[in-house]
């Protein structure tokens, strides 16, 4: 192996990535590679929807009710304009799925970010301060953990509906969903971070740093955060899959994102009404997309966990 180039320079960085154990274990399993490619494709498809989608489903002018319920091309009655058919309003399924995925990913990422910041923050505080505050935070975490995420999200949504006027709620619905999912998933971050902080706090170097007058916050950020990066990344990845699925479930139940901004869950809810009349594609294709997305993210998370866990070799 040649000596790595100066750290930070792009070629050196690239080489370090390709030379790392992480990259090695990534290329070792075709399942991991496959899910990585899937996630990449889906994210590109979602982000690029305004450019890449064959039809603009938000433009009412392009809607042709005549074309409603067109089956996929390979089924009798299919129309090559609509590769995988149209829904009850004549919208191109492929395009609605691409746009729907945007919303799903947006809510997913936002919710993960929210719970990450909340959880890591609370974990740092609990672990560093200890005492009553720690006990309080961890007690809340225990109680929170006893309630499934979906129930918390439903309750938060229900309460916000009751507390906010109808039109205001519709405006804020997206934020409410992000908040509801985010607030239901912070505990695992907090626990992990707290555990690490408790371990690090007692170590000599932290004491030494404190003796020479370095602010505790600086110690935390410089020494503890790098130690929790790995586990937090794993939790966040698995949490992303969970958040996407929770959003889809909420939207399917009709309490998620507003109908004007349909996510994959909304599309499935819509398609569910036509399952019995034989128009299966309206529900199945968004469902398939959702599963592939969640499965790929989960597989990546699993791989990360195994790759970052030295105990599992």
């Amino acid at each position: 192996m040649t000596a790595p180039a100066a750290p930070g320079s792009p070629p050196g960085l690239l080489r370090r990535i390709f030379d790392s154990d992480l990259w090695y274990s990534f290329t070792r399993s075709w399942i991991t590679m496959g899910s990585g490619i899937c996630v990449l494709l889906l994210v590109v498809g979602a982000l690029g929807a305004p450019v890449l989608a064959p039809h603009d489903t938000f433009d009412p002018a392009t809607l042709k009710l005549m074309d409603a319920f067109t089956p996929p091309v390979w089924v009798e009655g299919g129309n090559p304009t609509y590769l995988i058919g149209t829904d009850n309003q004549g919208r191109d399924m492929l395009s609605t799925i691409m746009f729907g995925m945007r919303i799903s990913l947006l809510v997913g990422f936002a919710a993960v970010l929210f719970s990450l910041v909340l959880g890591v923050g609370l974990g740092l505080v609990a672990g560093y301060l200890g005492g009553t505050i720690d006990a309080l935070i961890m007690r809340v975490a225990d109680i929170k953990l006893a309630f499934p995420a979906i129930l918390i999200a439903l309750l938060v949504d229900g309460v916000s509906r009751a507390a906010l006027p109808r039109d205001m709620h519709d405006q804020l619905a997206l934020y409410v969903v992000v908040f509801a999912i985010g607030v239901s998933n912070w505990v695992s971050y907090a626990r992990t971070v707290r555990g690490t902080v408790m371990v690090e706090r007692g170590k000599d170097y932290v004491q030494a740093a404190r003796v020479i007058g370095i602010h505790p916050a600086v110690i935390m950020v410089r020494h503890v955060l790098p130690n929790v990066m790995g586990p937090v990344l794993v939790i966040a990845t698995l949490g992303l899959a969970l958040a996407i699925l929770t959003e889809a479930t909420l939207s399917f139940l009709g309490v998620g994102v507003p109908p004007t901004q349909p996510s994959l869950g909304t599309l499935i809810r819509n398609g569910n009404d036509y399952l019995f009349s034989g128009e299966w594609w309206i529900a199945i294709f968004p469902g398939l997309t959702l599963v592939v997305l969640a499965l790929s993210v989960n597989l990546l998370g699993d791989w990360l966990r195994d790759a970052l866990n030295p105990k599992l070799r």
Partner: protein, 331 residues
């Protein structure tokens, strides 16, 4: 032992009071309860009279006390949407939800644990790989989609199982059961599979992970070094140590099943509490929301208590109190 139970009970009471406070706050801050009860054409004076009659002009804590008193007697008021006492609605629907949840939980435990043990012990067989891959799919398939797929296959395409409702039920006292009739059992199949699948994969993956963790420990290595047969090492030493964390999770997962029943019940139009709840969320039917909240909290608190007690019986380390342990540390 008694101190332990008492401490747990105290904690349970605190949790229940907190939840009660939240659900009571729902009534008070989520719009004006009077507006929710009466129509537009009731005069201001009438409204005031009603307010006084209901005790709504009293201080917050007094009202909360009254709410608690009523809640303890199971009185949560009238449903805004259905105009019937909430407790009646809940009692009507409780059996449906509990039967569904218990069936799903039993399936998840009795299939999930053996699969977890198998895949933990024989990590590299092809069967283990199949189970593991399938379990990942199970974690990534949202409950509602499983339901939809099952309906599509077994109800729409094959037309062998019903896609909604409980089938024929038989009344036993206030309880209605679907177990007694063939159509009731048939109606239970798809929903309970839908509901159990996620928990099943979760339990299986947990048992597998714990099993692998325990198999790496020194005492398992020492048990092997003593020449104990595999059967004893795996199903005695290893499995018993695995059970400690598994019991907790299974306990908590049962609560989870009741929550996920909301989704299953929506997909299959199963006339249980979940369906009632989701309709209440949609229609902002606060008395039902509040009652459901309290009920679910009670449910979780009871499960937690049971789990703690089970823990206590499985793990001898928790049985010693501190003074005894300290005294025995000297040889």
């Amino acid at each position: 032992m008694i101190a332990f139970i008492l401490r747990r009970l105290m904690q349970a009471v605190v949790v229940m009071l907190t939840v009660a406070l939240i659900s009571f706050a729902l009534f008070n801050f989520a719009g004006d309860p009077i507006n929710n009860m009466v129509g537009q054409d009731v005069s201001l004076a009438d409204r005031e009279r009603l307010r006084e009659a209901l005790g709504l002009n009293q201080p917050f804590w007094v009202q909360f006390g009254i709410f608690l008193q009523n809640a303890l007697q199971g009185d949560f008021g009238l449903s805004y949407r259905l105009g019937r006492p909430v407790e009646d609605l809940i009692v009507e629907r409780l059996p449906a939800t509990l039967e569904l949840s218990l069936t799903a939980a039993a399936l998840a435990v009795f299939i999930g644990i053996p699969l977890g043990v198998y895949t933990g012990l024989y990590r590299d067989t092809w069967l283990s790989r199949v189970f593991l891959t399938a379990s990942l799919a199970g974690v990534s398939l949202p409950t509602f989609l499983i339901g939809i797929l099952l309906i599509l296959i077994f109800s729409v395409e094959l037309n062998v199982l019903p896609s909604f409702g409980r089938g024929e039920t038989v009344e036993i006292g206030w309880w209605t059961t679907g177990f007694a009739t063939w159509s009731g059992i048939k109606a239970l199949i798809l929903p309970s599979i839908t509901l159990c699948l996620f928990q099943l994969t979760l339990i299986m993956r947990l048992v597998r992970a714990e099993m692998m963790e325990v198999l790496r420990t020194d005492y398992i290595k020492f048990a092997r070094a003593r020449g104990l047969p595999d059967r004893k090492v795996h199903f005695g030493h290893a499995l018993k140590n695995t059970l400690v964390p598994v019991i907790t999770v299974i306990g908590l997962q049962f609560g989870s099943i009741v929550a996920f029943a909301i989704i299953t019940e929506t997909v299959f139009q199963w006339p249980g509490m979940g369906l009632l709840f989701i309709q209440a969320v949609n229609f902002v039917d606060i008395p039902i929301l509040a009652a459901y909240l309290v009920l679910i909290a009670l449910f979780f608190v009871v499960i937690n208590l049971v789990v703690d007690l089970l823990y206590y019986f499985v793990d001898p380390r928790l049985r010693v109190d501190r003074t005894a342990a300290g005294g025995e540390a000297t040889p």
